[in-house]
């Protein structure tokens, strides 16, 4: 072995690493899986990575892939617009749970309902991480955040928002919807790959939620992060929620 280099995905911009994410953050685990998928599908040259406001934007410049950033929650309509203008381009909307399920929910629902041929990745860490850990639609019942110091009261604040399940009710059979977790990165990777293949073959809307660590706002060490994510997985079930059968013709 002559030269030992880190096992970065090829589409990474090595110079930008280590990333700006906090130690133990789940975002870069999702990004690494995404990077491996971009490599395997050989789509770096025709992809556009669209980043939402939130910790997602720390992915800026980590990839040697065209990247764009827009207003909080508006990444999905931007992605839909890109696809209209460039049907052969590959668009990846990368956002947080706050961006997707709070301020950007209407945009997400509309796009899914229209069956836009885009891929949306939502990193669910149960709160608004970048702004200091405020409660989000996804906050678990009784979870303490800076704005639910007594824990989320699900009697008065509703249940943690089930993203892909909600989309399932309003999409056609063409949509691909899945939920993965950074605790099983390779399973998450297989979902990301299917979602992007879905877009490449122009089959329909594709969506992957990734349950992810936020040790900074959860105030957890590695063991605590893993324990909390397991708790999240008890509520947010990991798996494929809608996976169209592909007829081999």
């Amino acid at each position: 072995m002559s030269e030992v280099l880190p096992s970065f995905p090829k589409c990474y911009k090595e110079k930008s690493w280590p990333s700006l994410f906090c130690p133990g953050c789940g975002h870069p685990i999702v990004l690494k899986m995404l990077g491996q998928v971009i490599d395997e599908l050989a789509i770096a040259h025709k992809s556009l990575l669209a980043l939402d406001i939130g910790c997602s934007l720390l992915a800026w410049d980590l990839f040697d892939v065209d990247t764009i950033q827009t207003h909080h929650g508006r990444t999905v309509p931007l992605a839909a617009g890109f696809k209209l203008a460039k049907p052969n381009g590959i668009i990846i909307a990368y956002m947080g749970d706050g961006g997707a399920y709070a301020i950007g929910l209407q945009s997400l629902l509309t796009s899914a309902h229209r069956d836009d041929k885009i891929t949306v990745i939502v990193v669910n860490n149960t709160l608004y991480a970048m702004t200091g850990g405020q409660y989000a639609p996804t906050t678990l019942c009784d979870e303490r955040t800076t704005t639910t110091p007594e824990g989320r009261n699900c009697q008065t604040a509703g249940i943690p928002f089930p993203g892909p399940e909600t989309l399932s009710a309003m999409t056609t059979k063409n949509a691909y919807l899945a939920r993965g977790s950074v605790l099983q990165p390779l399973v998450l990777k297989s979902y990301l790959k299917k979602a992007l293949q879905h877009q490449i073959e122009n089959r329909g809307f594709s969506f992957v939620e990734a349950l992810s660590f936020c040790p900074l706002n959860w105030k957890t060490d590695a063991a605590g992060s893993i324990k909390f994510l397991e708790k999240m997985q008890n509520y947010f079930k990991v798996g494929e929620i809608k996976c169209p059968k592909i007829s081999k013709s």
Partner: protein
């Protein structure tokens, strides 16, 4: 290579970065190509970083700025930090930082370093410009200068330069090149201190309890780095897959079959 060639030349003020950019731009213009040259330097006459953003194209150039260069030539180490962000997957790099010694060996003054770079660039412009077209503009620009013959020699030398003389990388990978390696007959285990943030996820996820925080090795933020007990490690790679910043690399060595 595309219709539109984006070239970035970077060096110190006084090295003649803008001169060679002008020569290329002029040759392209005379050759009925579209060409655009944007010089970028600070208030310093000398000693500041000087960048030349250059585009030559067979079709109209839509926008003067570009995000990634097709060709990047770097003449001075001080300029590296300013241009790294223009390096993309397709960027061909000409690293001429240490070319001065080679020139001096050939009895060419280092003031001609820029022209040697021009000669080397010529190889990558062949789809757009001939050597003759560039040499013609070199003549127009510099023939009345006392060191013109030396410049011509540098131009011809530049065309002969190899990867060894002007490497196609900037050397910034070097900081990753010092992994801490542990290995036995079965497993090769590399850790990259520059990438480790000491989060401990790898330690928690290892199914064999083979990882623990080292008392000596530190990561990028000065936190302890994990170390491996190779007697316990089975090479499953879970730590590598889990590490958010790719600070671990595990390779299972090929088993030698004894039949």
């Amino acid at each position: 290579m595309s219709e539109n060639l984006k070239i970035l030349i970077a060096g110190e003020g006084g090295q003649g970065v803008q001169t060679i950019a002008e020569i290329i731009a002029k040759a392209a213009f005379v050759g009925k190509l579209e060409s655009l040259h944007i010089p970028n330097f600070g208030v310093e006459q000398r000693g500041g970083v000087s960048l030349a953003f250059l585009q030559i194209s067979k079709s109209p150039i839509p926008y003067p700025k570009f995000l990634k260069a097709d060709i990047l030539a770097v003449l001075a180490s001080r300029a590296v930090g300013r241009v790294e962000k223009y390096v993309g997957r397709q960027t061909k790099i000409i690293n001429a930082i240490h070319l001065d010694t080679l020139l001096l060996e050939r009895k060419i003054q280092t003031t001609s370093l820029n022209i040697a770079v021009l000669g080397n660039l010529a190889k990558f412009l062949s789809q757009f410009l001939s050597i003759e077209a560039l040499e013609e503009q070199l003549h127009v620009k510099l023939a009345d200068k006392p060191n013109y013959n030396e410049n011509l020699n540098a131009f011809h030398l530049g065309q002969l330069l190899t990867e060894k003389d002007a490497p196609s990388h900037l050397g910034y990978y070097k900081r990753y090149l010092k992994p801490l390696v542990s290995q036995n007959n079965h497993i090769f285990f590399a850790r990259f201190p520059y990438l480790c943030k000491g989060c401990g996820l790898c330690i928690e996820r290892c199914p064999k309890n083979a990882l623990s925080f080292s008392k000596v090795d530190l990561g990028v933020y000065g936190t302890p780095m994990p170390q491996v007990d190779l007697d316990k490690c089975i090479g499953c790679k879970i730590c590598q897959i889990t590490c958010p910043d790719c600070a671990i690399k595990v390779v299972k060595k090929q088993k030698i079959k004894k039949n």
